[in-house]
């Protein structure tokens, strides 16, 4: 029975064998739907009873505009919508920066949160908050809205470059060195941030604490506007990095042999990681583990081809962060749990699980 297959069908299936791109495209389609659904739920649910339906009908120009309550509009347009957009941007940025970093370091355990890149970005952002009203005031005035993202980007860039320098020798990245150097960098960033906390006055201290816990609370349109450009830039760059990162999985030599300008690829990837991490750290503090959980789950289902892995990571990361935000808003309502706690509670055990499965490749 099994031996009976139509010749044409068999040919087709052997031709496409080992190619998971059809499945990857389907998965991306489903992830788009998932994100739309998650976003809709997050817009509809909240502390107040604002009616999303009425407001949306109002946007579409259907029905009587007067029937839409002004308070409903305010809740949806000025509170929930920026929070949802911010969550999507940050979730996408976190997941993509994880996937990019894993491709760059040729290692599934690399993640900006774990190896101290977020810490570096955080330290620079804390510097901007605390010193921004004093020594750095002129610079802050020039940068305006973008001061915090810019500072975080600079910190993220410096730490990614330093980490890459330390962990990679002659084109080979040592996992052990990468993780250990990451611990040291995270500790240093933590200590630096601690010193700044000591120096801070009351108002700055409140800013710092609020920001450092990792939260989407206080999302505003200006915040969205300040981080949208760098994150969108990174999302666009994925298209140009994907093929190179695939080849880089074979090693730097083979990647060069198939025609990839390896040095330029690595520099672009480092800048992209720093942009995405910096932008998300600047407005939401340190939110860990999204960058490691999302790409890993996707690799299990669609494989490691970056042409699909990167966009799929952006979509799933956005959905996951919206879901985590919904949990953080509701689980201890009316108070809010910092979203960084939610992602760490899920992500840290997951990270340990990956470690246990891949213990062999750590060569410690």
């Amino acid at each position: 029975m099994a031996s009976f297959t139509l010749p044409a069908l068999r040919r087709r299936s052997t031709a496409a064998a080992g190619d998971r791109s059809a499945r990857a495209r389907l998965t991306i389609g489903l992830l788009v739907l998932l994100l739309a659904a998650t976003a809709a739920v997050c817009l509809a649910q909240g502390a107040s009873e604002a009616s999303l339906r009425a407001v949306m009908l109002g946007w579409a120009g259907i029905g009587d505009p007067a029937s839409v309550k002004a308070s409903d509009r305010l809740v949806i347009e000025a509170i929930r919508l920026p929070r949802v957009v911010l969550g999507m941007l940050i979730g996408a940025a976190l997941a993509v920066s994880g996937a990019l970093m894993q491709g760059l370091f040729r290692n599934p355990l690399a993640d900006p949160g774990i190896v101290g890149v977020s810490g570096g970005a955080g330290l620079a952002a804390a510097c901007a908050i605390v010193l921004g009203s004093g020594v750095l005031a002129p610079a802050m005035a020039v940068a305006g809205l973008f001061a915090l993202p810019l500072a975080a980007f600079a910190g993220g860039l410096a730490s990614t470059m330093l980490l890459y320098r330390i962990a990679t020798r002659q084109g080979r990245t040592s996992v052990a060195t990468m993780l250990l150097a990451g611990i040291a960098m995270a500790a240093f960033a933590g200590a630096g941030t601690g010193i700044l906390v000591f120096m801070a006055d009351d108002a700055q201290l409140r800013d710092l604490t609020f920001w450092n816990m990792g939260s989407l609370a206080g999302a505003t349109w200006p915040k969205v506007i300040s981080i949208a450009p760098p994150i969108l830039l990174v999302l666009v760059s994925m298209r140009f990095l994907a093929r190179g990162l695939n080849a880089l999985a074979l090693g730097e030599g083979p990647a060069r042999h198939v025609g990839i300008p390896v040095e330029r690829l690595k520099q672009t990837a480092i800048v992209a990681v720093a942009l995405a991490t910096g932008a998300s750290v600047a407005v939401a503090g340190t939110i860990g583990f999204v960058g490691i959980v999302v790409p890993h789950l996707l690799r299990l289902s669609i494989g490691p081809d970056n042409r699909y892995l990167l966009p799929a990571s952006a979509l799933l990361g956005a959905s996951l962060l919206l879901a985590a935000d919904a949990v953080s808003r509701t689980i201890v309502a009316p108070a809010e749990l910092p979203i960084g706690i939610v992602t760490a509670v899920i992500g840290a055990p997951f990270f340990l699980w990956i470690l246990m499965r891949k213990r062999g490749m750590l060569d410690l």
Binding site: T14, G253, D305
Partner: protein
Amino acid sequence: MRVVAKSLSVALGGRTILADVDLVAEAGAVTVVAGPNGSGKTTMLRALCGDIAYAGKAFINGNPVADLPPWRLAELRAVLPQDTALAFPFTVGEVVRIGLRDAAVLSFTQAADRVGEALRKVDLAGFSERMYQELSGGERQRVQLARVLCQIWQPRLPDGPRWLFLDEPVSSLDIRHQLAIMALARDFADRGGGVIAVMHDLNLSAMFADRIVLLRDGGMEAAGEPAATLTDRVLEKVYGCPLRVGAVPADSLFVLPQSVARRV
């Protein structure tokens, strides 16, 4: 059209690995580079690939290697590395596809056919769905060769020959696949391409090479047709080991690739 090195020298970490080597490899021929461990074989190949900085001159089809951008080099030559570990769980088919430079102009089915045919050439038909990381060393080496073949599918294009650089292509293969892979290299040269292979196996080299280049201590010791280079005197000097070419041992068993009864 040829690959030419003129007084090629390479120093790594302050140590001279390769000194003043001249090499000419013709298209349509298999050129084997042999020599003891540490004699500079792989270093020479890496310099010709454009991987490392060198002093002296190196040309592929008349173009200075150091001046060619990566994409242009990738059109002219493909390189089979000694050992490739993969960081992520790619399937065999996905690995081979990475070599497909012209994937954009091939349709989905054409690309898949190309991958399938490359795998068939290296005797791995039906392996596309297998996970690369789960294969044996010899199978991985053949997957990499399939990838490399995809990169320069046509041995000769209107603007000149393509080059296949092989770094110990049979190091982890059984004898049957050693013969098959060498025959594949031979076929690539017969169809107009050029092959430069770093080899340890002198029997296979004698069997398949048009020209053998012997290196010792970073310098060239001998170069020419197999019959002219594989002589008692040269081999003793190069390997420091009193080898006798063509001498049949009186009382020990031996199996030579040359003795294969029919083409595999």
